[in-house]
C-alpha cells in the first residue's frame, strides 16, 4: 500500500503533478490540460474529443474516411428501437428517464442514497430490472446499441461531471479513481498514466498513445480490431489486460470510480459519441 502511494507520487512529480497529490479535481483537470498543451501546442482544446487522432495526422485521414459511412449507424438504429419498444409490462425506458434519451451528460454522477457513482449502463440496467427485464451484459451487444442511441441524441451536450460538496464520499470516489489511474499493474507493470500521460504521443510498437483528456466523450466505439461496438468499460478491460493485469468487473466499484475520475478530466468538452477507432 505504502509502496503504491510512493510510486504514484513519483510519477505525479515526473509529469509535473508535483502538488497534485492533494490537488482538487479542478486543479487536476488544469494540470492534465496544461501538460498536453505543452506537448501538443497546436492541438485546439476541443479537438481532444477525437482521441488519438487529435495528435496523429496519418491515422486521422483513415478515420475521417471511415466516418463518411459510420460503422456505428446500425447500433444507433438498433438502440432507438430498444428505446421505443415497450417492456413486457408495457412500460418503456422513457418511464425511467423522463428527460431522455438525450441524457448522456448526466453520467457518471454521484448518488448520495446509494453512496456510489452511477454510470449510464448501471442506470439502464436498474431500469430494466425495476420493470422485470433481465439486465444486459456490459461490454458489447445490446447495451452498446442503446448507449449509442443515447450518445447520438446527446451530441449537442458537453461533459459535465459534478463532484458534490455535500457528501465527502463523492470526492473520495474521485480520489480512488485517480489512485487507480496512477497505480502500476500487471506483470508488465504499467499504470494508465505511464501510457496516456507520461508517454503520450509516443509510439508503442505500431500504436500511438493518445491523451487522457477527451477519452470519454465518444462512447460506445466501433473498433475495427473488435469488428463491433464496445463500451468504455470494455476498453478499460482491454487496457488492463494488455499489460497482463486482471481486468476488474465492468461497472464494479473500481471501474465506476475510474470512469468518474477520467470523465471529469474531459469536463466542458463536447460529447461526440458514438465513435469509431482503428
Amino acid at each position: 500500500m505504502k509502496k503504491i502511494v510512493l510510486m504514484t507520487t513519483a510519477l505525479l512529480m515526473v509529469v509535473g503533478f508535483s502538488n497534485a497529490v492533494m490537488a482538487s479535481p479542478e486543479e487536476d483537470r488544469q494540470i492534465f490540460l496544461n501538460f498536453y498543451k505543452e506537448r501538443f501546442p497546436n492541438v485546439p482544446q476541443d479537438d481532444y474529443i477525437n482521441g488519438v487522432y487529435a495528435i496523429d495526422p496519418v491515422g486521422r485521414e483513415n478515420w475521417e474516411a471511415i466516418e463518411e459511412f459510420p460503422p456505428y449507424e446500425t447500433a444507433i438504429d438498433a438502440g432507438k428501437s430498444m428505446w421505443d419498444t415497450a417492456f413486457a409490462n408495457g412500460k418503456t425506458y422513457s418511464d425511467c428517464f423522463p428527460d431522455g434519451p438525450a441524457i448522456m451528460s448526466k453520467y457518471p454522477h454521484w448518488n448520495k442514497e446509494k453512496g456510489s457513482v452511477i454510470t449510464l449502463p448501471l442506470a439502464l440496467n436498474a431500469c430494466r430490472e425495476a420493470n422485470g427485464e433481465k439486465p444486459l451484459k456490459y461490454n458489447k451487444g445490446a447495451i452498446a446499441n442503446i448507449v449509442s442511441y443515447i450518445a447520438y441524441e446527446s451530441r449537442d451536450q458537453v461533459t459535465n461531471v459534478v463532484i458534490p460538496k455535500d457528501d465527502p464520499r463523492a470526492l473520495e470516489a474521485y480520489e480512488m479513481g485517480k489512485k487507480f489511474y496512477f497505480t502500476k499493474r500487471g506483470q508488465l507493470n504499467f499504470s494508465c498514466a505511464n501510457c496516456h500521460l507520461q508517454n503520450v504521443g509516443m509510439v508503442l510498437r505500431t500504436e500511438i498513445l493518445g491523451p487522457a483528456v477527451g477519452q470519454t466523450t465518444h462512447w460506445p466505439v466501433y473498433r475495427s480490431k473488435w469488428g463491433e461496438m464496445g463500451t468504455l468499460h470494455r476498453r478499460f478491460k482491454g487496457c488492463n489486460e494488455q499489460v497482463r493485469a486482471k481486468a476488474f468487473k465492468p461497472h464494479g466499484e473500481e471501474y465506476r470510480n475510474l470512469e468518474y475520475f477520467l470523465t471529469y478530466q474531459s469536463n466542458n468538452l463536447p460529447l461526440n459519441g458514438p465513435g469509431a477507432r482503428k
Binding site: K3, L6, K184, N189, F190, N194, N199, M202, R205, V243
Partner: protein, 125 residues
C-alpha cells in the same frame, strides 16, 4: 516521504544484488555457448510474447519499433559492466521507479535463462 522512498529503493536494490549472485553463475555457464546464446537472445528480445523490446526500443534491423525508449546501440560503451545491463532488464524500476519498462526478471515475464541470453544479445549491439 522522501526518506522512506530512499529506503524503499535501497531495499529493492539490495534484494536485486542478493538475487543476482546465483544468476550470474548461470550466465557463466552459457559463456561457452555464447554464439548460440546471442542468436537465441535476439529471437527472445524480438518475440512479442517474450521481451518484445521493439515495442519501445529501436534495435538494429527490427521492424516497426516503438520510440518510447532510447535506441539500443553502443551497449558495451554504455554498460561496460554486464551485471548492470542485466539489472536494468531484470527490473528497470529499481533505477527509475517511473520507468514504463516492464520488470522482466522480477515479474517473471521471462525466465532467468532467457534473460541471460537477452543480455548476451543486447551486449553485442
Amino acid at each position: 516521504m522522501t526518506i522512506s522512498k530512499k529506503h524503499l529503493v535501497g531495499t529493492t536494490g539490495l534484494l536485486i544484488s542478493v538475487l543476482s549472485i546465483p544468476l550470474l553463475t548461470t550466465s557463466m555457464a552459457f559463456a561457452a555457448d555464447a554464439g548460440n546464446a546471442v542468436a537465441e537472445g535476439k529471437d527472445l528480445a524480438f518475440d512479442r510474447k517474450k521481451g518484445n523490446c521493439l515495442s519501445c526500443h529501436m534495435i538494429e534491423d527490427g521492424a516497426s519499433p516503438g520510440n518510447i525508449a532510447p535506441p539500443l546501440i553502443a551497449m558495451k560503451a554504455r554498460f561496460p559492466d554486464k551485471a548492470k545491463l542485466r539489472a536494468q532488464i531484470w527490473d528497470a524500476t529499481a533505477a527509475n521507479p517511473d520507468s514504463p519498462m516492464p520488470p522482466f526478471g522480477k515479474h517473471q515475464v521471462i525466465s532467468d535463462a532467457e534473460l541471460d541470453k537477452i543480455v548476451e544479445y543486447v551486449w553485442t549491439l
